[in-house]
């Protein structure tokens, strides 16, 4: 059997966050009637699911990962395949002799590979039909969303704070049905806006307006289509990014990281920049409670990274990571430079809600509001969530610092700061 993968690598195969969660519940001997692994890279198991007969799950890791499962799920890999992989990763799957049904599947795959036919999709016609169906579902889902948005504005937003979270949850559930999961997440997060303090009215209208713009852009099929589709929830599979995505081999500086908690899963965003090309990249990783993130990208360091980029040319996967070293403070700009950069980024993607900001020689101030100001006296307010970032103030004590963070419509989220000696501090 091939070398065991670590959990993080297995999790990169998951089609979405919820399959990661359900797969986790299968990482125990109770869930599996039988499991086994065999050379060169096959895994199988019988899982007691909801149906009377156990689901038969198999995974082939020789070459691009392939999956087979008798469950009705349309996700690929399904939670059983993913759960089996995680169980294997945790050392729970013993070596064995593949049963008949696994041998048949493996030999069919091998025969196909020899014929030079792609193993997947099994039926290109069916795959095309499925893709077409999804487009239609999403399109009618977005029409429905747009009608809902117009209804909100027709009736007036003034009464919104009285609505419970169900107000957004039901339209979010409709977007899940329409296979537009990106919109569903966004809509669910809106329930917090009416309780987010002064100015909530503006923030809610902005959100509704930008969703309306997204629906309109998709209907007209105009604008930055890759961005539009990814915001709606058309995910690009990691394996296709690894296979077909643009590869960039460069010296990358790790600017900063930001951990976020959504439902029960934590997401880590790591911002990278190539000093030579001035280009940014964003690497996402995921962890469940009790798990730690892969700590390979440390703010304040630099390394030779090979990245495989998503179509938006920002999000990326790390393919290889070598020669890590402590880095000098990054070259940044003034407050005006950050805002110019942000405006430029918005012109490519008007839905952006954050963009990396690197500032040299800024001093954190408390008055008139928590902010960082540059030598010219121009200031960027801190995000309300960062107003009490006392370590930033303590590090500065009234002296200028280099600060890397995310600029958002609500203010700056500082992530890393460098003191006068060039030492990096994660904030």
């Amino acid at each position: 059997m091939a070398e065991r993968w670590d959990q993080a690598r297995v999790l990169t195969l998951a089609p979405d966050a919820s399959s990661q969660r359900s797969a986790r519940s299968l990482v125990n001997a109770r869930s599996w009637i039988t499991t086994g692994s065999a050379d060169p890279a096959a895994l199988w198991g019988e899982c007691q699911g909801g149906a009377a007969a156990p689901y038969r799950t198999a995974v082939d890791l020789s070459g691009r990962p392939a999956y087979k499962c008798s469950c009705p799920s349309r996700k690929l890999p399904c939670k059983h395949a993913l759960g089996l992989l995680l169980f294997w990763s945790a050392g729970g799957v013993p070596p064995g002799t593949p049963p008949e049904w696994v041998r048949t599947w493996l030999s069919t795959r091998a025969a196909r590979a020899q014929d030079g036919k792609p193993a997947e999709p099994a039926d290109p016609e069916a795959a095309r039909r499925r893709a077409e169906q999804r487009e239609q579902r999403v399109a009618s889902g977005l029409d429905e969303l747009d009608r809902w948005l117009c209804d909100q504005v027709r009736q007036g937003l003034a009464a919104t704070p009285k609505a419970g979270y169900q107000h957004w949850d039901s339209i979010a559930a409709r977007m899940v049905d329409a296979q537009a999961s990106g919109l569903a997440e966004r809509l669910r997060s809106l329930a917090a806006v009416p309780h987010s303090g002064a100015g909530w009215e503006s923030r809610l209208l902005e959100e509704y307006a930008m969703l309306h713009l997204l629906a309109t852009a998709f209907r007209r099929q105009s604008g930055p289509l890759d961005t539009i589709r990814s915001r709606i929830g058309f995910t690009v599979r990691q394996e296709s990014v690894l296979a077909d995505g643009e590869r960039v081999l460069d010296r990358w500086q790790v600017l900063g990281r930001r951990d976020m908690e959504q439902e029960r899963m934590r997401t880590r965003r790591v911002w990278l920049r190539s000093p030579r090309h001035g280009r940014y990249a964003l690497v996402l990783s995921f962890a469940f409670p009790g798990e730690s993130f892969d700590g390979a990208l440390i703010p304040g360091t630099e390394a030779d990274l090979e990245l495989a980029c998503y179509p938006d040319r920002l999000r990326a996967l790390v393919v290889s990571n070598q020669n890590r070293a402590r880095a000098k403070p990054p070259d940044g700009g003034t407050v005006a430079d950050v805002l110019t950069d942000w405006a430029q980024a918005l012109s490519q993607d008007p839905w952006l809600d954050s963009w990396p900001a690197v500032l040299n020689a800024v001093t954190p101030v408390r008055t008139p509001q928590p902010a960082v100001c540059d030598p010219a006296g121009a200031a960027l307010p801190l995000h309300p969530a960062a107003a009490a970032n006392w370590p930033l103030f303590a590090l500065s004590a009234g002296n200028p610092l280099t600060v890397a963070g995310e600029w958002t419509p609500r203010g700056l989220l500082p992530l890393t700061a460098w003191d006068e000696t060039g030492r990096a501090v994660v904030l």
Partner: protein, 282 residues
């Protein structure tokens, strides 16, 4: 009224009752002859204004504050700073006093980014705390934090005690050789663990090896009968025994079947040895 305010007001009232304001100057106008849903037209305008407002965001103005001034003391080593972060994070949290005492004694300053956590920790204890170590904490943090801590306290009302009380740390209590001999005599004469617990709580560090060994022997012998007080004394030995006992090779590991509290005591001793070595190195 700004363009955004006009659109926002209409959206709050609702287009059933409010009139959609005309598009702002420079915005695309609806094609003549087409009738759009007013709600949709309002959202169109709001979207354009949202992006325009975000992209056109102007910097605020502010003046840099007065600097805290230079702290002439050298910074603790990176390893010592990392260990303080662990202690503040809850790992062997009761060793905070010892870390700060050693840093002050060596004339070193803690990493500035940890000052807020130190000030928060000291905020929660009053000078009237019955525990003598805790009662000293505010003064200890003020001394270790130096001018920068005072500067910070001026920004956050939660730390105003630093400015109003101006606490100073009296030198830490240290066990003299004569007192150590007396304590050893008392400990040898005291087979009752409950009385010993009370007695040893008042004996400041560093307990010499003979005193620590005596106390540990009595406590280990009583572990099965009075586990609560015996464990308390064993833990105390870990934090107060001479840290040289935590040096590599100074003490052998306990056998695996030994009570957990003994393993923990040894781990604390070794943690302290490393901790003080990092601060010695400067």
């Amino acid at each position: 009224m700004s363009d955004w305010q006009a659109v926002l007001t209409a959206a709050l009232i609702g287009t059933e009752r409010a009139v959609v304001p005309p598009p702002p100057l420079g915005f695309p106008k609806p094609e003549p002859g087409t009738t759009t849903d007013p709600a949709s037209a309002l959202l169109d305008q709001a979207a354009l204004l949202t992006v325009a407002r975000r992209a056109g965001c102007r910097p605020e103005t502010a003046e840099p504050p007065a600097s805290a001034g230079d702290d002439p003391r050298p910074a603790v080593s990176e390893a010592a700073g990392a260990r303080l972060r662990r202690i503040l994070g809850g790992e062997n949290a009761d060793l905070l006093h010892e870390w700060l005492n050693a840093a002050v004694a060596h004339g070193l300053r803690p990493p500035p980014e940890l000052l807020p956590a130190l000030l928060d920790r000291a905020r929660r204890v009053a000078a009237t705390n019955p525990d003598p170590d805790e009662a000293r904490l505010r003064g200890l943090v003020a001394t270790a934090g130096g001018a920068r801590a005072t500067w910070l306290a001026g920004l956050n009302p939660a730390w105003s005690w630093l400015v109003t009380e101006q606490p100073a740390a009296p030198p830490p209590r240290r066990l003299t050789e004569a007192d150590a001999e007396r304590a050893l005599a008392l400990a040898e004469a005291q087979p009752d663990i409950n009385a010993l617990a009370q007695l040893m709580a008042a004996v400041p560090p560093p307990w010499p090896a003979r005193l620590a060994a005596k106390v540990l022997t009595t406590a280990t012998g009583s572990l099965s009968r009075t586990p609560l007080n015996a464990s308390r004394v064993i833990r105390l030995a870990g934090t107060r025994a001479d840290p040289a006992l935590g040096a590599p090779g100074a003490l052998a590991d306990f056998p695996p079947q030994a009570p957990q509290v003994l393993h923990n005591m040894l781990a604390v001793l070794r943690f302290r040895y490393e901790m003080l070595r990092e601060l010695d190195a400067g």
